[in-house]
Subunit: 239 residues, 2 copies
DNA sequence: CGCGGTGTTGAGACCTGTCAAGACGTGTGG
DNA sequence: CCACACGTCTTGACAGGTCTCAACACCGCG
């Protein structure tokens, strides 16, 4: 159930059996929800955090003109609004990009963890700072990289994360976003997403079809992206 | 010395006298450094975190082509690399934008706080998630707002933060960045920064001169920026 | 007094956006 | 089973915001 989550954490630190048990015990409930729903609306008072088990979610901000900017994509194993535990409300929506299954973790149980498991607390603190590191890299993309490189960089990141979660196979993973939504991540219009995807295919870098990404030439893709996974903190270290 | 820091925290939560004492006791040393220095280089193993007392710093990422993207600006009162306590190394440089004074806080003392002051620990956890919230808003700017609005939004944010820190007076604050560096925050070239600043002045929104920002028409500026300070979490709440 | 960094201006190029139309696919209702 | 509607994808022409390059002004400082 939360195997992907444990794998994500154990990539960065050791999680003891007692800690694993505490995590499993923190889950109050499993829920399912369809695509294009708001799971956590911006501004709402929070008393739970959600652990994504299956499917894709996103953090999105709605703008005055009706456009959205997606500031983070979430895959299986991500604690999509763990920062809500500290913030008490969110500055963005959490929305589904596909049908999803997720675990509900009440904040009391998280608070309990912070009182009884100081190391696990630091691991979860780390996890929210890892989110911030990904935000920074996205800011670099949005501010300084042209569309093709931006997209290449995103797919490099997602491949690494999907491999950790165990949802990638053979440099390929499900990707339920439509082109408009991909554009909302990259800060470009749907029309330009389409052209950029064609350029990707023309260069034999990736193919996106049937809601699935296939990476054709990973070295070339990483080259175009100038991808350095350092910001994903893939090393196992005592936090 | 760390009054700005306490003010920043107390805007968001109550800090007891005992906690204040713990914070003050965590400071090992005060240091001073000139402008344009790397205070914390990317990738370095960390054993301290730095509390900015005076001056401006930034989180910056250097790109292949020699350009930089600044992902966050720091003012007096900011714990510039508190996330380094969880991450153990940074995915970006912390650089000075002016002469700075800062306090050095060893990680052992932070760890000590996490063991003896659970509430203060949550306050500091909150503080790193607030950083992330600011990152998200910058991502929105970089991805979805045109240059003028982007710049207006940045100055709205900085005014709020400087007022909290106590370094703003009468809608005006010191701003040591040169135009190139401002462009590195906004993801635009120095030439375009210059033109955007002229447009700002033409519209009587702000004036930037002698390394100081004066906001001429705050309502109009906030209007252009579509500025909503919700993402700065200005409400005092038990974290 | 000269030099380097910063700020300013203009002309032209380029990347991305806008608008509009049509193709395609899928689900629905008649 | 067909007709239709709707969302998504694709394509083309054109517009516009921002970049690049280059030159010059300005200024503090050695």
């Amino acid at each position: 159930m939360i195997e992907a989550h444990l794998r994500m954490l154990r990539t960065r630190d050791e999680i003891s059996p007692a800690e694993e048990k505490a995590i499993r015990g923190a889950v109050a409930e499993i829920r399912e929800i369809g695509p294009d729903k708001i799971v956590v609306p911006m501004g709402k008072d929070l008393s739970t955090s959600l652990l994504l088990i299956d499917g894709w979610m996103a953090r999105s901000k709605r703008l005055e003109d009706g456009n959205r900017q997606i500031s983070q994509l979430h895959i299986a194993g991500d604690f999509v609004d763990l920062h809500g535990f500290a913030l008490k409300r969110l500055d963005h929506d959490v929305v589904t990009m596909s049908r999803c299954r997720y675990a509900v973790v009440p904040h009391e149980r998280l608070r309990d963890i912070t009182e009884r498991f100081p190391h696990l607390t630091r691991v979860y603190w780390f996890s929210t700072t890892l989110d911030a590191a990904i935000h920074r890299e996205w800011a670099v993309s949005l501010g300084s990289r042209p569309a093709l490189q931006r997209m290449a960089h995103l797919f490099c990141e997602l491949l690494v994360r999907c491999e950790i979660a165990g949802t990638a196979s053979d440099r390929s993973f499900d990707f339920p976003l439509i082109q408009r939504e991909l554009g909302e991540c990259l800060g470009i219009t749907p029309v330009h997403v389409n052209r950029t995807l064609q350029e990707m295919r023309r260069r034999q870098l990736i193919v996106l079809e049937a809601r699935r990404v296939r990476i054709l030439d990973h070295d070339a893709l990483a080259g175009v992206a100038a991808f350095d996974p350092a910001y994903l903190y893939l090393e196992r270290k005592s936090r």
